[in-house]
Assembly symmetry: C2
Amino acid sequence: MLDRTDGRPLHQQVAESLRQEIVGHDLPPGSTLPSEAELCARFGVGRSVVRQAVAGLAADGLVIRRQGRPTVVAEPTEYRRLVQRATGLFDQFARRGHDIRTTVVGLEKATPPAPARASLGTSACLKLERIRLVDDEPLSYVRTWLPAARVSELDADDLVDASLHRLLSQRYGLRPVSGQRQVRAVAADERLAAALDIGVGTPLLLLEGETADQHGRPLEWFSAWHRADRVVFDIDVSETAETLTLDAASPREPAGAPTGRSRPTSEDLARARELVEELRTLLD
Amino acid sequence: MLDRTDGRPLHQQVAESLRQEIVGHDLPPGSTLPSEAELCARFGVGRSVVRQAVAGLAADGLVIRRQGRPTVVAEPTEYRRLVQRATGLFDQFARRGHDIRTTVVGLEKATPPAPARASLGTSACLKLERIRLVDDEPLSYVRTWLPAARVSELDADDLVDASLHRLLSQRYGLRPVSGQRQVRAVAADERLAAALDIGVGTPLLLLEGETADQHGRPLEWFSAWHRADRVVFDIDVSETAETLTLDAASPREPAGAPTGRSRPTSEDLARARELVEELRTLLD
């Protein structure tokens, strides 16, 4: 319900309430906005107030009005990142034709926080801070901790508009291949808000974790705060990935992961055999 | 810097600024708080103001003060969910000994939004809305769209304190095994804030997507908003998962996924051959 002592015009309050539902995916992209009559009843306002509110949302690009058909929630422009891969943002985005740029905010010797120190096994680290921009707008702020001994003579200039993972592979022969990642939603503090050009408190999608090289040795520990209005993480759930993740990767399973998985069924085994054949075909 | 015209006491402003950095993971759990001298210099305040601010953070459980050693950021209680699996929250959490409860907010015939309709291939759906609670506190709000024809006689009572996935398997013989998922950070709107007992605008971790059954037919389309102060999504990145996801799962890749992947290197192929042998050993 609206607060008539609020001071803001009623159409603004209706628009704000709908905007929150759209941004929160309570009304996801492609869904139909409730009819004018329904909105009038729900907010206890007249049709002209509802029309003005919806016109405001349309002007902001949040909804699309269509002649003689219901108004729908617009699809925002989003950048997608497949987070199961060790592949960095640079390679994933460049391949799709996005112009990704990188600003180096800082590169210095520093002592990492306890979790990074534990993961990397050393406190002699480089702290690298970067802003990634796509199509000239900030997309993410990335803080990476690297074991100093493994990346000697790393220079900030090497990383401007470049991929850290590519540099690690090409110059140091260190290929980032595996790791544990965590995804969190956090509110932007002042520093992150300024760097990413958003308001303090705006939700950010935080990807954190470690990456090991092809020999299983720790290579980096990072926190990457992504603008949540522009970035979506994609995850592919599949029986094969599930089976392999559980069985093949068990030495690196996180402490909190469940144990005691039951034996695969005959159906699972049949599927795995199919998979083996498919792999053979692919490779031979 | 502090705003001396702000009206709030200086120690509150210092505490709020540090609280934002802790909650935003700019100061991650286990990291050392800057020293009193550093904080005095940074905020331009005296030592007693800094001490009062840090005491406030300690009283709220955000930091831990230790005699003669630096103050560290506390590890919050977090519930972890491995999002690469089709396994629902219920099974993952129950296995770890958490007492998970489920309240059914509603179950009704309804028309799903366009993306759910496209995924499920029908508009004759059931809309199921549930709140999941762990240790009696709300953890997530889940809206699930199910094709009505595949789950006849589904009753809200069947789902109280129960697992939807288990019910689908046991009663309908439909085993949820694969799917595409998206992770977003969104701000809570009024309805979600009330249901999850948090403030409007608080960041939520949204897991959205579809799940297919063992025959590859669409089974559900869901949006699950998780309290971001309590839930972390775990992701396991591994070379094997990466290879298989890319090669084997390509028919189900989302529209936004990269195309034109370069040919695998001879090293990749060698690894894949190893994998095939490993799979054979496992299965034969």
